[in-house]
């Protein structure tokens, strides 16, 4: 059975552009992802919201420690419980909460560093690019708290004129029990 964690290594694009075209697209996508990470690390949440498509789905299922024979149970599925299962409205609420001046879990604010690597273009459409990447989010809080969240994510970037908008983000965390007091940071 295919699990959510399984990437099709032979994932072929619907049309196969020339190498020069793919390299350019790879560059554009990576720059978008780095720019996005920089906005979050700089706490420019309003600007970050500007990168999101109106119909964004932002989702982090729950992962479970399971045996090889039960790998189909590793992740919760859409509609089941999740850590994040957000539409644009919910993400805007998260940002308003961060800005409220009374979000005690983020005041003093966390210092975060979003690392994105191993970027691969899984599918290239006329309007959308499906991107797989590894992520590492390091959060330093107060004087003694340090959290590191590592995982794999699948993003769908949609063309919007010269720019991209983030239309879907699926975050597959490597942790099962979250080893932190909270996840008050945007991934």
């Amino acid at each position: 059975m295919t699990t959510l964690e399984t990437t099709r290594p032979d994932a072929t694009s619907r049309r196969t552009p020339a190498l020069s075209e793919r390299a350019l697209l790879q560059y554009e996508v990576e720059q978008f992802l780095y720019e996005e990470a920089a906005l979050l690390d700089a706490r420019r949440y309003r600007d970050w919201l500007g990168l999101l498509a109106d119909d964004i789905h932002y989702w982090m299922p729950i992962r479970r420690t399971v045996t090889l024979s039960d790998l189909d149970l590793e992740f919760t599925r859409p509609g089941e419980m999740a850590f994040f299962d957000d539409d644009r409205e919910m993400l805007e609420m998260r940002v308003r909460k961060l800005e409220a001046g009374s979000a005690w879990s983020e005041d003093p604010p966390s210092r975060s560093r979003h690392f994105v690597s191993n970027v691969r273009l899984l599918e290239i459409d006329r309007d959308e690019v499906t991107v797989e990447a590894c992520f590492q989010l390091c959060r330093s809080r107060l004087n003694s708290e340090a959290s590191t969240w590592v995982g794999r994510r699948i993003d769908v970037l949609r063309r919007d004129g010269e720019a991209f908008r983030l239309a879907r983000r699926q975050l597959f965390l490597d942790q099962t029990i979250i080893l932190s007091t909270n996840m008050s940071t945007i991934f």
């Binding site: 045996t67 994040f84 409220a100 979000a103 029990i177 979250i178 007091t181 909270n182």
Partner: protein, 453 residues
Amino acid sequence: MADGTQVAHAWTKAEILSLFDPATGKLDRRVLSDEGIYQLELERIFARGWNFMCHESQLKGPGDYLISYIGEDQVIVVRDEEGGINVLLNTCRHRGNALCRAEQGRAKSFVCSYHGWNYALDGRLIGVPGQKTYYHDELDRSRLGLARARVENYLGFYFATLADDAPPLYDYLGDVGRTGLGMVCAHGDVEVVAGVQKNIVDCNWKIAVDNLFDWYHVPYSHVSAHTAGFFDIAAILHPKNQMVMLGEWGHAIGGPAIPREMQAQIDAMSDEQREAASRAIENSPRLRPRQATELMGPIGVRSQGHPNIFPNLWITLDGAQLCLRLPRGPSATELWWFTVVPKAAPPALKRRLVSMATHFFGPAGLLEQDDGENWSQSTRAARGVASRSLGQHLSMGLGHGEVVVGANDERFVEGLVSEHGQRWLYRAWTEWMAAHDWADLEANHSPPPAGVI
């Protein structure tokens, strides 16, 4: 010692009873950080009480299992071929190795990865490599099954205890515990939605538990979620319509309640009328159907608050979620969130309940984020030499509450936001901690009071 008791602890009965003073609401802060007290809690509270394991819907067929805990004892909760649910200590009788490393799954039997001892789903030792050769057929397998906890269920919620002398679960829950689980089933039979959110907070487990009775913190701790437009504090708090129900063994329910006159109007409505009225009032708890009164009692059915089944099972979101607070040392607690939906609910309602549960609580929940931060800092800031010598202050409403005795012997206090629930919790806690066994606890615990508290 062979019975698992710690060899030495310095806390005498009198010292333990002095850790909380119900007359002033002062709690000794050492209960939040002392290692000796923590070890005693594992023995006298968690190993002795009934601990929530799972709901029957989580284990559908034979061999379905999940891992849970009784204190820090890890257990396998598994359905066997006969359909029964067993709770087995997850430690091989040979050298102690953990048999199960997964959180959940499906098994035909449990084989130890160290030397291959094989246990049936009911814990019987059914295979030992080298039984005939190396052991000369002298090993009495019948005496080497996995250690089993006592298991009982109420409304499909399974609990386990390591104490042979504990009262039956039904009696242990009492009126208040049964009302709490009744709240979960008020709209009909439920099933657990796949996915238990788990995270670890560096707080003492009791801070998380006493917080569930604390409706005083809601407008301040959670103001950012209100400001962000996520929820309306006024719609859920009702600070003047609060009710605290006090139950035996430390169970309690605290929080907003439907006023008596309003409940009388609801009682006169048919289930269809209640559904229609619920649809008309957006973001308000769904009116409970008639059967809820049987499950929760005529007083309990008015509660829209938070039941806690002593020691560590919180029921919230009008019964849509259960949260276990598992001790992991004096300064660490694992939070496990179970979400339920009525089996018969229409898909749109199920989606709404799941969405609510996802966004309120859990480590990324818009309310829970700030709770974790406060609990962690409350544990940390209260453990220094000077800081821990100051008492925790739990005096709100002291002397201003009148415990009314209901027609079915319910004990409840109505009025303003108060700390009656927290005081009841800590009073029970000292009694559990001071008692050597169930007989001692039964003889020396406080029954739920009546009159002024």
